[in-house]
Symmetry: C2
Subunit: 198 residues, 2 copies
């Protein structure tokens, strides 16, 4: 062959993802991406074609890993359904508290992108819709299991409860970006579990 890459593509993608996550799509310049990844413009355009393509891959990477770990928690049959939901919410609270920039939560790339781009870019919209469907399906499954086992008392249908859970999680993300601290997020999470268990 010929001259080999001097960088790790996966690492570069991760750095780019983080930048989009912190600053949003429009506010991230190609210059920002160069600095974050440590690559030159040529290398970036050589490898990722365009800013939009790099964003799409970043978003894909984000949902794969994030939704992946969430689904894994939800499908872990070694603990009862309600407990799995508690673990999920803990995970989210921890994430919001840990992932900050300038002392502020950076939220969730999925939520941020839904707000910034959903409905404006067809590829982004499709990707977000697929991810939402995947998360809702996992939510529904645990909730149904919880209802069958008497773990979850609410008699609303599992789909409605899944949409409710999804909305609360999104709202927690926005709250964190709005300045909510750990105690606040935990209170929201606890109230949400009340709603399902009670």
């Amino acid at each position: 062959m010929a001259r080999p890459r001097e960088f790790d593509e996966a690492r570069a993608l991760d750095a780019a993802m983080r930048t989009f996550w912190e600053k949003g799509y429009e506010s991230t310049s190609t210059q920002d991406l160069c600095e974050a990844t440590g690559l030159g413009r040529s290398s970036i355009y050589n490898t990722f074609t365009s800013k939009r393509d790099l964003f799409l891959r970043s978003l894909e990477h984000y949902v794969d890993t994030m939704t992946g770990t969430q689904v894994a928690v939800l499908e872990d049959e070694s603990s009862p359904p309600l407990e799995r939901l508690r673990t999920l919410l803990d995970l989210i609270v921890d994430g919001e508290i840990e992932n900050r920039s300038d002392g502020r939560a950076i939220g969730c790339l999925t939520v941020n992108t839904t707000v910034e781009l959903s409905g404006r870019d067809p590829d982004v919209t499709r990707l977000l819709e697929r991810d939402l469907a995947r998360r809702l399906a996992a939510f529904r499954a645990v909730i149904s299991a919880g209802q069958r086992g008497g773990d979850i008392a609410s008699e609303r249908d599992a789909d409605a409860l899944a949409r409710f859970l999804n909305a609360v999680i999104g709202g927690m993300r926005v709250s964190a970006q709005g300045g909510a601290d750990r105690a606040t997020l935990e209170a929201i999470a606890a109230t949400t579990l009340d709603a399902l268990a009670a």
Copy 2:
């Protein structure tokens, strides 16, 4: 004096607000603002100083009117606390369904701005925090009243429930932007009321 304005400042502000609401701050160009308001660049800069200042005034205008009507609903003592919350959620669902662009909900300027700018611009951050405090205070008041009257069964403290309610509302907004239809939003709202009443 001299030559009078050819336009209505309040109307222009409203058009600008709507544009920022639909497209976000960064994605709205000064050209967009000219087209939306019908004003020339000179008139805009003459009247509103800068894009950022115009945005700040737009956000202020939004918050005043939106939070204003919400607080009015919450303080209407002619109906019981839980009923006021139901009315509030109905209002929000209606708003999300009605306010669309390209068949997609445009969400809530407060939520959108929290995601896009909170923590990045100090003036924006302060404005959003003031508005959040105002809404939380109104939420707390109705919830406390509901708890005293036995209308609201949850024994969590009113502040936690207020933060919870705020999060769900934000999440409904994001869900709407993500494509949720009226039935879905209503299901989330109903589940939320369950959580407070049950």
